[in-house]
Symmetry: C2
Subunit: 301 residues, 2 copies
Amino acid sequence: MKHAIHGVHSAAATPVTGDGTPDLKLFGDHCRRLLEDGCHGIAMLGTTGEANSFGVRQRIDLVEAAIAGGTPANALLPGTSTPAVADTVELTRHAVQSGAKGVVMLPPYYYKGVSDEGLFRFYARVIEAVADDRLRIVLYHIPQVSQIPLSHALIGRLLEAFPGIVTGIKDSSGDMNNMRAMCETFPALGVLAGADPLMLPLLRLGGAGCITATSNVRADALRIVWDGWNDPAKTEQVEAAQARIDEWRTLSNKYVQLPTIKTMLAKRRGDMAWLNLMPPLVELPEAERNDIWAQMDRLGG
Amino acid sequence: MKHAIHGVHSAAATPVTGDGTPDLKLFGDHCRRLLEDGCHGIAMLGTTGEANSFGVRQRIDLVEAAIAGGTPANALLPGTSTPAVADTVELTRHAVQSGAKGVVMLPPYYYKGVSDEGLFRFYARVIEAVADDRLRIVLYHIPQVSQIPLSHALIGRLLEAFPGIVTGIKDSSGDMNNMRAMCETFPALGVLAGADPLMLPLLRLGGAGCITATSNVRADALRIVWDGWNDPAKTEQVEAAQARIDEWRTLSNKYVQLPTIKTMLAKRRGDMAWLNLMPPLVELPEAERNDIWAQMDRLGG
């Protein structure tokens, strides 16, 4: 694979205790099991991982907990952005020094309607302050949440200024045309699908893999797609796996997505601690939870 | 005045060095001069103060720099929210223990479309973790930036759960109807105008004052409005002062507002260090800067 960061990555959910602190032991176990389920890497502390709801120290602790739980550091892709350069540098430096495969970086998301020049400076200052050749950055395009789209002009400028460091982008916009255009325009950029149904279509366009939420419970099927998509003998198997992923993805979007993913994990892992969320997210009402669990049985667990 | 937090507050801008760290000495001087200009308090580290572009440690350092620069701690109203409960607790606890008059708290602003229950939990967890009767909170309603409006149902619930702690709201929406409704519905809540032109109209409705950006350069006029608005003999003087504020506010909105405020401060204080901004904001182009300076001369400095 030509891209430094490629394969099936889980946007791992982060378990929390009832009093709202990270459940480090359970998280370490979860990351290791995601690798056993078929993931190549763990894109921890993304939107699904409630990264922005944890403090800087908690985020550092979670990276260390993943490693302590048995996940090799070079399988980790932690989200390290905050709206502030200083804290982003601290988190990014820690990830690099821990041996992470790379980091996923949101743009600063407080001010809206900001310029490409301002966004470029944010990334440039972090890269220059971390000052480590091992740094590998996956940009994070999720405009429906961040409200800060990453333009192709910005991406091109970052690739030119920091070749080998800016290596990929996670596109969670769900916009296949944007992913196609990035694959064509930026051959050096590994495009990772942020939405499960786009995994197979993106691979066929030259994409580098995925970072998705459904992989918390269905990594096995994503791995089948990854391993077989380019083998004509496996087309039927691969398309069946993608269809299975899509069913689970549809279920995860039936109610509010993040609490639903955690509701699924509670059943899958048999641990009700998974039901807890960090503010401002809240758990599903009981009726929705019971419905999700019934639907999981219907889909085969 | 019946409200714990009332009067003219400056949404103080934060000077930064060329390498993007807070200029602590210049900030301490600025806060002290804002009091000399007529402010009752310094609402530092808000949207105008680029709070979210600074790390947790830098924000703590800035509170300490304001005090070291000669501003009494009980004139400070720092913004202490981040999207994470843990870092927000750290910043809020530091402000209270430093003797601040209160804190201004944004809701967590990463996830969009969240529930009142989730927002309530965010504030409740911070209040319960800080666990200090001296805590005074001004809620911060700025939906055009945060994308997270504070509903009246949420405000009412917070007032009921934390009487004497949740004491005010800064409304930067510019929506006079919302401010009027809050003054009528919540007599215990001190409503502070976030937009300068609404200072006088809001005081006439029973509001508690303002936290505004234009006060960085025009606090004198805001103080005239505050001191005289309820005195029929001063109506003409007060309305002239409000009109003067409005002229400056209009000028500050001619280009991108925050860089414009800093451009004004560079001229006013005679220190070009004020031109620097934190990413993702950038300085005004030279032609706009020169125009702002010429317009300041026209308005009388």
